[in-house]
């Protein structure tokens, strides 16, 4: 297709680099530097989308981020699909493939268009609440098709082929927007030895100056931009970012900036490069120079392709050398838009007329346009547009000076393009992100940033300073304010400027053009193009009682598209205000939340996907586990072997049975390195232990270990473990795997805030020691083969003793402690030797059929013995008394202990508390699901009175029956009673209350020869 709308010269495109791309299956050309939008306009493409409700053809309206229609699904391959890309932002590259997200199944031949008329009836304002409501079960079907037809794009089904990154910045000043204000502020600050970031959303710095014909310092503005950029680039403390959208302004001047690094280069980022970077910027100051978006006027059939904002046309002419039509009608309520008529005229194409809604415009630029011989109709407006797939003409009429009604005769003008300008809306979004409301300025008919708390300054048109001289001066003032506040020394005064002030006549407060017919019968006048919200829809919402702008927005879905109503929201508010006969500020302001534009999930995620999503903590023996069939369980961030498959495909229960039997019959080996280990030193260490544990520690001798329970102040158990006395003032505490950090923090908290007078230090040594537990009747025999320097005799090295010696040639501390009820040793060696000792044990253990086992077997074995797991059998509402662990409470301590008072509360001592007991099913093979609730009578009237839940439930291969622990109200006094566990499937499991110690109740197994 030829580029019929490409000008012979001009535009910042590389005409030597011709690029071919595909849009909706058709091939088009453009040049390096074109956006999809500029290239499509150059080729004379009118329709880029179908509208949401009415299926009307839509064209490109704007040139930037405010574009509501030209929304693309990008990507040739499944893995590179990207939804909701704006044609006005996406630069073309060779082979780019995209299609409209709207207009399923196609935007040119859209069967929706045929049904558009009644679709509109089915989808009135508030349709979510009105139609498709019945029958309710069909909603999911309706929704699927509504969403598909609505065209919200789709996410890829394959995982993203690209890489994304996050980069942190700590800087002094972030300048948002590299238009005239941003550039001059950066220039002025660059002499002050501060770290600056200048972030520009588009591909090129310069903003409005790139399509301006004004001079700065007597030279073309573009020359000034070039010179300023050259100086800034030379400064190592200035970071310049293009294609970088400042999307979120968060508390404490934390700002997120989304840089599209390679989106303009190819489908997939070049090898090794991140496709997008999320810059996380922490800055002392922000200068917000984000500029303003031109808003269109609202008039009949204002969505026909060929209707555009005035400034967009100028941008296409100046930056891309593209003129999107032949015959222009320009409607405006202000002076500024006249520049577009001049630009169009200077391209040698016809300006049919400028239609100015003001009764008597006499500004300098109006005179200039008149002198060019262009028709200027004053006090008139375009009330309707002719054409369906492209503008063919407009209907104009006189309007009252108030703008409320049409007067006189209607005239039709032939044209193919309608530009409109209703003034400018400052891009106040970022200033709102931290909760500040914008304020209305009557003189410029726009919201400007409101009051603010953080160090944020505003410069240029975002603050309503549209005139270049004022804009530059405000930016210079911002820079100077920072220099003054921070007492910075400036080497050289930069950024002085000379600009001729272009005096403009005031804007007319007009947003929506009246029609000869009443609102409900007039041609459709669109306010929000992406969501098909019309003036009559807003009118209806108001008549139905929605008077707050927040309600109107939600009812009509105005501003709810991917464009977030950048073009239409202010017009919509003005229409609501008009309908309610209120002023705009009385109707309210809308506010904005991050993000300013949609951000790809990949960018938010950055590197933190797959294995990097969350740290996996490994022990020193992890590789062995992987190589020997371990399946892993997450415990906190640790990966612990859950069970080991003896052969691929071994069933879990088979593996557990095998492991459980091996431990009880011979010997098993487990990696216990993940248990938290805290080294405690100091003369008051023993006293401190006595205060944080419920039991006594005063007499624990060197060489001994003791089990302890820790409670919160409320008396509820929160962790447990064994602590060894290493020396008079030196202890080693173990905690649960998941509780390690919490316990260390708990100890520090009480030491630092309650008992700073105690001389004690706590240090984590969890990672320093590799811990290997060997359990089973043959454990001693196995250990004796590798152990030197420890007398392993059962009376010399007793249960709850620890000894130092050599294991497999490595210095070790060996603890005779048991969580399985078997003869057990826990070997601690410096972790660098962990793998060596583990492997040596495997070799020596062959003759005992040494079996590695994981956490699940450990759980079964401890449950056979009735040992609790803090966090599984406790839930923060259980005292040691509820667990039957009154033996663990010491009342002889001179100082209290944490939880003592809490568990003495009357509620903790009352009768009928839930107590932990064993539960034995009547049918021994039946397992009760954990969490099941016990009842006395399953046939009692609802609601059933629950007695307590099952906390642990396993099948014990050693006992060849199911075992369980659980809470039962007053359980200690109900041994032998029958209780029932009703299940969701209607069955009822019958069980008996028993002791939680199912295996070896006398503890003989721990003392085998």
């Amino acid at each position: 297709m030829t580029e019929i709308n490409r000008l012979d010269s001009g535009g910042n495109i590389d005409r030597t680099q011709k690029i071919t791309f595909t849009f909706n299956g058709k091939s088009y050309t453009g040049y390096q530097g074109d956006t999809v939008a500029s290239a499509l306009l150059a080729s004379g493409v009118n329709i880029v989308a179908r509208s949401f409700k009415y299926r009307r053809p839509r064209g490109i309206m704007a040139a930037g981020v405010e574009e509501p229609n030209a929304v693309l699904q990008l990507g040739k391959y499944e893995a590179t699909q990207v939804p909701n890309i704006l044609a006005t932002q996406q630069e073309i590259y060779e082979g780019l493939t995209c299609r409209s997200v709207t207009g399923w199944p196609s935007c040119d031949v859209d069967f929706g268009g045929l049904i558009g008329r009644f679709m509109g009836k089915m989808l009135p304002p508030g349709f979510y609440y009105k139609t498709f409501m019945k029958p309710a079960f069909l909603w999911h079907t309706y929704e699927k098709y509504i969403r598909k037809a609505a065209g919200l794009g789709r996410s890829p089904k394959e995982s993203d082929a690209d890489r994304y990154d996050h980069v942190h910045h700590n800087i002094d000043v972030l300048i948002v927007g590299a238009g005239p204000a941003g550039l001059i502020a950066a220039t002025r600050l660059s002499a002050a030895n501060v770290r600056i970031m200048l972030a520009e959303e588009t591909t090129e710095m310069g903003g409005s100056l790139l399509s301006s014909q004004q001079d700065i310092n007597g030279k073309d503005a573009k020359v000034w931009v070039k010179a300023a950029l050259k100086d800034l680039q030379a400064n190592p403390d200035v970071r310049l970012l293009t294609r970088a959208t400042v999307n979120g302004f968060h508390d404490h001047n934390f700002v997120t900036v989304n840089e599209r690094v390679t989106d303009h280069l190819a489908e997939k980022a070049p090898t090794g490069q991140a496709r997008q970077i999320l810059h996380k910027v922490r800055c002392k100051w922000i200068i917000l120079a984000s500029g303003a978006h031109e808003r269109p006027l609202v008039f009949g059939n204002n969505d026909v392709p060929g209707c555009m904002t005035a400034s967009a046309i100028s941008t296409y002419i100046h930056r891309y050398g593209v003129i999107p039509g032949s015959r222009l009608v320009l409607m405006t309520n202000n002076d500024n838009a006249y520049h577009t008529a001049i630009d169009w005229y200077q391209c040698g194409r016809t300006v049919i007329a400028v239609v100015d809604t003001r009764p008597n415009p006499e500004g300098k630029i109006v005179q200039k346009v008149r002198e060019m011989g262009i028709n200027v109709f004053a006090g008139k407006a375009v009330i309707d547009v002719r054409g369906r797939n492209r503008v063919t003409g407009v209907v104009i009429a006189d309007i009252e000076p108030s703008g409320q009604a049409v007067m006189g005769m209607l005239t039709t003008l032939d044209c193919d393009t309608v530009a409109s300008s209703g003034g400018w809306s400052p891009v106040v979004h970022l200033s709102c992100h931290t909760g500040c409301r914008p304020k209305w300025r009557e003189d410029i008919q726009a919201f400007v940033p409101g009051s603010h708390r953080e160090n944020i300054l505003f410069a240029g048109s975002v603050n309503g300073h549209y005139d270049l001289a004022n804009c530059l001066q405000e930016a210079v003032n911002c820079a100077d304010q920072i220099i003054l506040n921070e007492s910075l020394t400036v080497q050289e005064v930069l950024g002085d400027f000379k600009v001729e002030s272009a005096l403009e006549e005031p804007i007319m407060p007009l947003f929506s053009i009246p029609h000869t017919k009443p609102v409900m019968q007039s041609p459709k006048q669109f306010v929000d193009f992406q969501n098909d919200v019309t003036v009559s829809a807003i009118d209806l919402a108001v008549r139905e009682g929605f008077h707050s702008i927040e309600h109107v927005k939600r009812y009509t879905v105005m501003g709810f598209g991917t464009d977030q109503g950048k073009l239409g929201n202010i017009n919509g508010m003005a229409i609501v205000a008009n309908a309610l006969d209120k002023s705009i500020p009385e109707v309210g302001t809308t506010t904005f939340r991050p993000n300013y534009t949609p951000v790809a999930f990949g960018t938010i995620v950055g590197r933190y996907r797959n294995q990097l999503f969350d740290p996996e903590r490994y022990t020193a023996m992890h590789r062995w586990h992987c190589d020997n069939g371990a399946l892993f369980e997450d415990v906190g961030q640790w990966k612990r072997p859950w069970y080991f498959q003896a052969y691929p495909g071994e069933k879990m229960q088979d593996a557990l049975n095998r492991e459980c039997l091996a431990v009880r019959q011979s010997v098993g080996i487990m990696d216990a390195s993940t248990l938290g280990k805290i080294d405690i030193q100091g003369k008051d260490a023993r006293e401190f232990l006595g205060r944080v544990y419920t039991n006594a520690w005063a007499k624990l001798a060197v060489g001994k270990c003791r089990y302890g329970v820790m409670c919160n102040e409320d008396g509820m158990v929160f962790d447990d473990g064994v602590t060894a006395c290493l020396a008079e003032q030196h202890f080693l505490m173990t905690t649960t795997t998941g509780g390690a950090a919490k316990v260390l923090e708990w100890l520090e908290l009480f030491h630092q805030t309650e008992w700073p007078e105690l001389d004690v230090y706590f240090n984590s040594v969890t990672d320093h020691w590799a811990t290997i537990a060997i359990n089973g009747p043959n454990a001693r025999k196995l250990l004796s083969e590798l152990c030197e320097g420890i007398d392993l005799d059962k009376d010399k090295f007793k249960l709850m003793d620890w000894r130092q010696g050599i294991v497999a040639g490595v210095p070790a501390r060996v603890f005779r402690i048991s969580f399985t009820g078997e003869l057990s040793f826990e070997i601690n060696v410096q972790a660098n030797y962990g793998m060596h000792v583990w492997k040596a044990l495997q070799v020596a253990g062959k003759k005992y059929k040494l079996t590695p086992y994981g956490t699940e077997t450990m759980h079964v074995l401890r449950a056979e013995k009735g040992f609790i797991i803090a966090g599984q059998d406790t839930d923060g509402s259980v005292t040691p008394l509820d667990l039957g662990m009154d033996w663990c409470l010491s009342n002889k301590k001179s100082f209290s202990y944490i939880g003592k008072r809490g568990m003495a509360r009357s509620d903790c001592l009352r009768k009928g508390r839930k107590q932990l007991v064993g539960i034995q099913t009547k049918s021994k093979e039946v397992m009760i699901p954990e969490g099941s609730q016990a009842v006395d009578n399953p046939y009692q009237p609802l609601p059933l009175e629950a007695l307590g839940h099952i906390t642990s439930s396993y099948f014990s291969a050693n006992l060849n029956q199911s075992i369980a622990m659980g809470f039962i109200k007053d359980g200690f006094n109900r041994m032998g009673d029958t209780v029932y566990y009703p299940q969701p499937d209607g069955t009822i499991i019958t069980a008996e209350i028993c002791s939680p110690v199912f295996y070896d109740p006398n503890g003989d197994k721990q003392h085998v020869e």
Partner: protein, 222 residues
């Protein structure tokens, strides 16, 4: 019934035994290294950083494996503590956020009452030497197996840090000799600027596979 069983765990009766009872001492000093020929595995042994390290485009990371790491705890207002450390180590105890460098060791400030000494000398001898000089309230903990030191170097090394951590690594805020402990990727690291383009990272053993993967992911794509 529960009481009967579990009280076995609490067996507290002491059976004094001349041969086996540990000699009374205030602190349990233990030589944890073997003199024998025993395979040691550093925390990053199974990662790309092992052996010669990993490098690309002006960033290099190598491990300085098997150093002795000792945590020192004590009170900065206790002059005896400070002079004992300084005499024993023949090094200054660094001020807040600083390091001090000796011929065989670096001492890193970690927190107001905590330092880390990393040395290529034997951990046991170093600890014994320090304990000999120290008295009063202090703690020394051998953590050599629990962490390792990486050396990050190269003209682009700061880029890796800026991706990994929100901290400000600009020379004006992070001069040579400074040390911090901060978030690094989704774990933590002690970070010391050894020279303009050289950074020491001390990471925990259990997080080292994750961090090595992260570092590798960054370096191959930088």
């Amino acid at each position: 019934m529960i009481q009967m069983v579990t009280s076995n765990m609490l067996n507290d009766t002491q059976h004094p035994d001349e041969k086996n009872t540990i000699k009374p001492a205030l602190y349990a000093l233990m030589d944890q290294c073997t003199s024998g020929d025993v395979a040691m595995e550093s925390p990053v042994v199974h990662t790309a950083i092992a052996n010669d390290g990993i490098q690309n485009n002006g960033i290099k990371v190598v491990e300085e494996a098997f150093l002795s790491h000792l945590v020192i705890r004590g009170n900065v207002n206790d002059q005896d503590f400070i002079s004992a450390i300084e005499t024993a180590a023949s090094m200054r105890l660094p001020e807040k956020l600083q390091t001090s460098q000796g011929a065989h060791a670096t001492i890193y400030w970690v927190s107001p009452d905590e330092w880390l000494i990393a040395t290529n000398k034997d951990a046991f001898e170093t600890e014994a030497n320090l304990r000999e000089k120290l008295s009063g309230h202090y703690a020394l903990v051998n953590v050599s197996g629990g962490q390792t030191r990486l050396l990050l170097s190269g003209s682009n090394s700061h880029r890796l840090l800026h991706a990994a951590s929100p901290y400000d690594f600009h020379l004006s805020n992070f001069p040579v000799g400074k040390v911090i402990t901060t978030v690094f990727a989704r774990a933590q690291a002690l970070i010391h600027r050894k020279s303009i383009d050289e950074w020491e990272l001390i990471i925990r053993r259990s997080f080292s596979d994750y961090l090595a993967l992260w570092i590798e992911d960054f370096i191959i794509s930088c």
